[in-house]
């Protein structure tokens, strides 16, 4: 579904991604793992059209999307729940979610997805009328994930969705990701919680200083001694 070939991303004079290639097959969960600064976020930013200084190629269903504007990429079916949440602080929870569906026209579908997001995150329904900026950190994280879902994407990219969530919710968010995936959506996941992420992934790539150091099926990496030592804290 998504093919990345020899992608380079430069970011403020830093060569953040140094030629990575990866592919995300339809209907799978693919995870990027790596230390802070390894280039994970830069990669998804490039896919979302937010990184300006790039080289290489990104193909979505064989059509090139590198260099296109972020809003076109959303319409092409890719949504991002970004690092740092980036919710709209002065809009209410519901307005934030509805804006996620800005590129859609199917009213019944939007209403259905809104209900779906509220059922995934009941906490958001409790805060319906509250402004985004007054939510706690973890609630904002839920809102960011929910907003990404509202564009009804084919490919959902989640940049550290479990960041700042309580343990109970961390578990829940991974089961939600599975649930989203089982409804036919492809997921590209960035996580620091490597154990949980690898457990639910079909395939995973490990990034080190802008390059792919290792890749393989999630279960396989989970039992790889190198990975265990460096990322699972065994």
């Amino acid at each position: 579904m998504l093919e990345i070939n020899d992608l380079h991303v430069y970011y403020g004079g830093i060569h953040a991604v140094k030629g990575i290639s990866l592919s995300i097959p339809q209907g799978q969960i693919v995870t990027l793992i790596g230390a802070n600064g390894a280039g994970k976020s830069s990669t998804v930013r490039a896919v979302a059209g937010l990184a300006r200084n790039t080289r290489g190629s990104i193909l979505l269903n064989k059509a090139t999307i590198l260099g296109r504007d972020p809003e076109e990429i959303v319409r092409a079916g890719i949504a991002l729940s970004p690092e740092g949440r980036r919710i709209l602080p002065h809009l209410t929870v519901e307005e934030n979610l509805r804006l996620g569906a800005y590129a859609r026209n199917d009213k019944p579908g939007i209403t259905r997805d809104l209900e779906w997001v509220y059922s995934l995150f009941p906490r958001l329904r409790e805060r319906l009328w509250q402004k985004g900026g007054t939510l706690s950190g973890g609630e904002q994280q839920m809102l960011a994930v929910g907003r990404a879902l509202m564009s009804s994407p084919d490919l959902l990219m989640l940049d550290e969705p479990s960041l700042g969530l309580a343990p109970l919710l961390v578990r829940e968010i991974f089961s939600i990701i599975r649930q989203i995936n089982s409804q036919g959506k492809t997921v590209l996941l960035i996580e620091q919680n490597a154990f949980a992420a690898l457990s639910i992934s079909n395939y995973a790539y490990i990034l080190e200083t802008g390059k792919i150091a290792l890749h393989g099926p999630g279960q396989e990496l989970l039992h790889n001694p190198q990975v265990k030592e460096a990322y699972l804290g065994a």
Binding site: G37, T134, S136, G137, P167, L168, L169, L232, G233
Partner: protein, 638 residues
């Protein structure tokens, strides 16, 4: 590597050398140039003074101010009233006679300029008190209004200002020597202020006011200070202008004048001193040179009639182009330095000057200071106590009846579902919210409702969930801002080159470097905090908090976004700094490995109410906590 420090003697020699060169140049100019060119040189000096004063307010402290014409008017009128002779004033005021004491006062030129500056500064202070609480655009609108009010006041205060007729025949005291003398003084003062820790503090306020408050900075006081100093130099600029062009009237001090100054400051680069100097020269010269576009131009075959005001059209367009294509101006925030080539060579050769010897300004020493009211065990068993503390926002109760006693010297944890009110409690303790209920005691003293900077002074430091560093400041400067709260030197001292304040700054730099080294950030000391990778930003935020010499440290999700390996490092770091800096730590964290691993006592919050507290083993097995927070499968999952 930290930037090598230059020795005071060398610096003084350099300054005197430059001043000498300038004097030679001025003497030359006076002898060889015609009066028109000398006039332009004079305008350059005054424009640079004005641009520097605006840059201090806007570029370095981040306060968008459009009141410059008002301050200049005050300076110009006060100075003119002072330098004119009583006899002359008697004859000049024809609409209404001039009233006492203005009719009788007479001062020399130098004291008159000072008086103009001081009156402008007073007006600045007066306007600062109510409007500085506004921020951003509102401040711009308020100061613009102030400037117009001053103009209207001057127009109508005829017995003092001669009304709309203005004042004519002001003696032309503003010679090259005076103007460039004032320029040198302004440069010297502004540069020493900005190079001292006060400069770091002002820039910190510009970058992030909330974070600056947690560093113990009274942001309002610092902003008022910068605004007042800026107004002083604007007043001086106005006074010099009056004595240069010898005629002033209220129409002169319209918004257009502010716009001119703004244009120089923006074109040069907000936050760059040399930028203001360079742009001051270029724009003043261009403004004169472009007079040709306002005159008739005869191209031989066609006669273009002169269009008055064409210059400003061109300049406004140039300003728009700058904003569109090079928003940071000619210099951005960079500076041209005497030793730029030297520094480049040094970087090339990878040598560095040895750090200057300095008195130790250490955390240990700080402990012997009276302020720490040494935490004697037994006397204050609990360093922090919350007694029935609560917080309501409108109808929403965020925290209710929270009782909490944190033992001195321990590491305590604070957990609970998202939105339970944990960060709200941090904001209550650190003074960002005033509790609507209950009391907060720190080291036995009531700190309920103290503003953040005073809470910091008492010895409470914090970090933020979303990291709030001063992004444009270097890592070293970030830490130096933290030292400000314990600093003894005052803001006006750097200009006097007092050895004590010099030594203190050097000592602070050393202590800051040690602190950075302690947290493994010494290689990044000179890098902008905003460009550091995430993990290092987290560490730097802790270093900065430690610089305020806290007894009590609040960490809001320190392990968020870290992988297990980095988390392990962090746990060791937390335990080490507690030991080394003799701290008590309270942390919010969702990573149970951290909470269970380092905390000796844990409080659990749900819907603003404490549902459990106790040691980790008890919390881990508490059915209420498992249900609300950890989840049934927590054990196998972790």
């Amino acid at each position: 590597m930290p930037a090598p420090q230059t020795r005071p003697a060398y610096e003084a020699a350099r300054f005197l050398g430059a001043a000498g060169l300038l004097m030679l140049a001025l003497a030359g100019a006076e002898t060889f140039l015609d009066p028109y060119k000398i006039q332009i040189l004079n305008l350059i000096a005054i424009n640079i003074i004005l641009a520097l004063s605006l840059n201090l307010i806007y570029g370095f402290t981040g306060m968008f101010s459009l009141g410059h014409a008002g301050f200049m008017a005050i300076g110009a009128y006060v100075c003119s009233l002072c330098v004119l002779t009583p006899a002359y004033k008697e004859t000049m005021w024809i609409l209404e006679p001039i009233i006492w004491p203005f009719s009788h006062m007479e001062l020399g030129f130098f004291p008159a300029v000072i008086a103009g500056g001081i009156c402008a500064a007073l007006a600045g202070l007066l306007i600062a008190l109510p409007v500085l609480r506004l921020g951003g655009d509102y401040l711009g609108i308020a100061t613009l209004g102030f400037s117009e009010i001053i103009r209207v006041l001057i127009t109508n205060a005829t017995p003092i200002t001669n009304g709309s007729l203005g004042i004519k025949g002001i003696p032309k005291f503003s010679t090259l020597w005076w103007n460039y003398g004032w320029l040198l003084f302004t440069l010297y003062f502004v540069v020493s202020l900005l190079r001292s820790n006060s400069g770091n503090v002002l820039k910190a306020i510009r970058d992030d006011q909330i974070a600056a408050k947690t560093m113990g900075i009274n942001t309002f006081r610092q902003q008022a200070l910068s605004f007042t100093v800026g107004a002083f130099f604007a007043g001086v600029g106005g006074a010099l202008t009056a004595c240069l062009i010898s005629t002033i009237d209220p129409k002169m001090f319209s918004f257009l004048l502010t716009f001119n100054v703004l244009m120089i400051a923006v074109a040069g680069g907000l936050g760059s001193i040399t930028g203001s100097v360079v742009a001051g020269i270029i724009i003043t010269v261009l403004l004169e040179w472009l007079r040709i576009v306002e005159e008739e131009i005869n191209l031989g075959f066609i006669l273009i009639p002169g269009i008055p005001g064409m210059r400003m059209v061109i300049f406004s367009m140039a300003l728009m182009l700058i904003i569109i294509f090079r928003r940071e101006g000619i210099m951005g925030m960079r500076e041209l330095a005497w030793d730029t080539p030297l520094r480049l060579w040094r970087r090339f050769a990878k040598t560095s000057a040895p750090p200057p010897p300095a008195k130790n300004f250490s955390i240990q020493e700080a402990e012997t200071m009276p302020r720490s009211q040494a935490a004697i065990p037994g006397e204050n068993e609990f360093i922090l106590e919350l007694r029935k503390a609560g917080m309501r926002f409108g109808g929403v109760t965020a925290v209710k009846d929270l009782n909490m006693s944190v033992k001195t010297g321990c590491i305590a944890g604070f957990i609970g579902p998202n939105g339970a009110g944990k960060t709200t409690v941090f904001n209550l303790i650190s003074g960002f919210y005033k509790p609507t209920q209950g009391r907060i005691l720190f080291q036995g003293a009531d700190i309920t409702g103290l503003p953040p900077h005073l809470v910091c002074k008492r010895g409470i430091a914090r970090t933020f969930q979303n990291i709030r560093l001063f992004p444009t400041l270097s890592a070293l400067q970030n830490v130096l801002v933290g030292f400000h709260v314990r600093q003894k030197s005052q803001w006006w001292m750097p200009g006097l080159q007092l050895p004590a304040s010099r030594r203190e700054y050097a000592a602070m730099r050393e202590a800051a470097m040690r602190l950075l080294k302690r947290l493994g950030l010494d290689d990044e000391a000179c890098e902008a905090a905003g460009s550091l990778p995430y993990g290092k930003q987290r560490r730097l935020e802790i270093a900065r908090a430690l610089a305020t010499e806290p007894r009590f440290l609040l960490l809001d999700e320190p392990a968020a976004g870290m992988n297990p390996y980095e988390t392990q490092d962090l746990m060791e770091l937390i335990q080490d700094i507690r030991q080394d800096f003799n701290l008590t730590i309270l942390l919010i964290e969702h990573d149970m490995k951290v909470v269970m691993g380092v905390c000796s006592n844990i409080w659990v919050l749900e819907y603003g109410i404490c549902i459990a507290d106790g040691p980790p083993e008890a919390i881990r097995n508490d059915p209420k906590v498992i249900e609300a927070y950890l989840g049934e499968e927590y054990m196998e999952y972790a």
